[in-house]
């Protein structure tokens, strides 16, 4: 059985857990460096990227997590998680800086500009998937091996690069398991 970690410092941890439970995975909440041992992949959930970024540093998870990802640990970041992975953040210092993408935080505006829509992501599913954007970021530039999986109104909102997947939206807030299944079965 695959053991999937969820970075559990803040944010939509329970929501991701609920999805993974349906896929029959073992789940490990990652709060300390020791929790990284034995996981086959990790999800960086939605939440506040500034909060999670600061806690990563304070609890000494930053360096070991970055190293694991650079050595090939499959990782998927949703919303705040995407921001944590990016090598560049507009007007801000990056966090883990492992993925060849540049992101813009709160790119759509305040909560009044949050929205949801349905789109097909060919790489992942034949059916349209519900996409929920909450004060979401988007990708404003990609380089290297990073490959766009979905563009919405001229902005990239889903990217893959080797062992790394990042989405601006929150599949964990829907009942659609496609992306969780893709991550757990195709990437791990």
């Amino acid at each position: 059985m695959k053991n999937i970690g969820i970075l559990a410092l803040q944010g939509s941890v329970e929501e991701h857990r609920r999805m993974l439970e349906k896929l029959d995975c073992r789940i490990t909440e990652v709060k300390k460096p020791a929790d990284l041992a034995g996981i086959d992949g990790i999800i960086l959930p939605g939440g506040e990227s500034t909060t999670i970024g600061k806690l990563l540093n304070r609890c000494s998870l930053f360096a070991p997590l970055k190293e694991k990802i650079e050595n090939g640990l499959p990782v998927w970041g949703t919303c705040a998680g995407m921001i944590l992975l990016a090598k560049e953040i507009e007007d801000e210092q990056p966090h883990l800086a492992v993925m060849d993408i540049k992101v813009k935080r709160n790119a759509y505006g305040s909560q009044l500009d949050s929205f949801s829509t349905k789109e097909k992501i060919c790489e992942i599913s034949k059916q349209p998937i519900e996409l929920v954007f909450i004060r979401a970021p988007y990708v404003s530039g990609i380089s290297g091996a990073a490959k766009s999986l979905l563009t919405l109104n001229n902005h990239i909102v889903a990217v893959k690069e080797k062992n790394m997947l990042a989405t601006s939206f929150h599949p964990e807030l829907t009942d659609d398991l496609s992306i969780h299944r893709y991550f757990a079965e195709k990437m791990i």
């Binding site: 410092l9 506040e48 600061k54 705040a80």
Partner: protein
Amino acid sequence: MSNQYELNKNLAQMLKGGVIMDVVNAEQAVIAEEAGAVAVMALERVPSDIRKQGGVARMSDPKLIKEIKQSVSIPVMAKARIGHFVEAQVLEALEIDYIDESEVLTPADDMYHIDKFQFKIPFVCGARNLGEALRRIGEGASMIRTKGEAGTGNVVEAVRHMRTINRDIASLSALGKEELMTYTKEIGAPYDLVTYVWENKKLPVVNFAAGGIATPADAALMMQLGSEGVFVGSGIFKSSDPKKRAKAIVQATTYYNDPKVIAEVSEDLDDAMYSLDINDIDENSLFAKRGW
């Protein structure tokens, strides 16, 4: 339910496990963000000053809210008086992220809360028990917090309200389906929401703790009691070392079930805010009694 209401509940989900801090100016907002707050609550006076100075407490100056909004990248919340739907309209026009229809401000309507479904912007409201929580959700609140007793630095009321909500949910869950309408009548809450809680054994929205949290251990206590995050009002900027205390409360909220971490961050924090015994407060001065 409208799509916007779902999105508003979703934003509250993204705040889970985090600390929302009261701030009265941009400088404090930056300190809060730096400490790791998931959101800031912009207001003119923190609850302990409102309690001391008395008078009518209202929505903050829009200029102040704008300055705070410009100074941070995390969500900004602000308070409107209970029932004051025009203050809420103003806050919505300012495009902040969340409105707290709050008993800490002087109520503007002694009969009715705001009809929150008339707004696109999300609302958080205080509650002391399940009936009150479900009435607010029935009016359109997309997040709930305990009322506690704001501005006291005394966590006892927040504990009482969290325990009451938990106990109410547990006793509702044990009922037979045929008992639900009578229970609905007893607690004065909408039937569909009572049914939801009966089926799911939890509120349909995120529930935070608020009102009296002053130390890292207070925050962790509320989390262990089942709270999904905490609001800290006067507790940070009325203490002697706000930066250090803010950081410590953020860490204690994440590591709420790890006493070693709580011990470590609680060390050498200097004085907590000036605090009050609830019994020493005149009955009519209790904020939690405002609203129904």
